[in-house]
Symmetry: C2
Subunit: 99 residues, 2 copies
């Protein structure tokens, strides 16, 4: 936006949807938890002290928004962040809070 034109309306709607995904503490905690290592669902649930079902539901949201990717290995499905972009968005937010 610095020297760009205003974003198109539909881009702004997509953008709102993206930030909405970041705007939930459970999802943020999941993202931070798996940011440096792959983890299966139950391990995430235990790490956060939350139900497996809750985590699965939120992982689906994250998956649909391409913020995490998964890999099956036997009975378990390992999740991790999809790319470093995600980390950067979170870090930028933290910077704003801590400033």
């Amino acid at each position: 936006m610095e020297n760009r034109n205003l974003p198109e309306l539909d881009v702004l709607f997509d953008l709102a949807d993206l930030f909405k995904v970041f705007g939930d503490s459970t999802r943020l905690r999941i993202m931070c938890t798996i940011s440096n290592e792959e983890m299966p669902v139950l391990a995430i649930a235990e790490a956060l002290g939350m139900e497996q079902s809750t985590i699965s539901h939120q992982l689906r949201v994250l998956r649909q928004n391409k913020l995490v990717r998964s890999r099956r290995e036997g009975k378990q499905i390992y999740y991790t962040l999809d790319d470093d972009h995600v980390k950067k968005i979170i870090e930028m937010g933290i910077d704003h809070i801590l400033e």
Copy 2:
């Protein structure tokens, strides 16, 4: 998070609150509209084709989160983004969408 520890729990809650503010298209549109110039409330409302009341409510949310600041000049109150950090967060989101 790159090489940091996991953010504290309370930081993550604050972070979720911050992203929640960005997760609404009306607020995003307001922020983009006033990103390069100060504007009074009615002008913003007209620019977006929305009611003055709606804009005022959302400006309050933005104010409370220190994303915009305001300045009274006579009967009008001019709003603009509080700092360039806000722009950067939005730009980072756009980059993610357009990638």
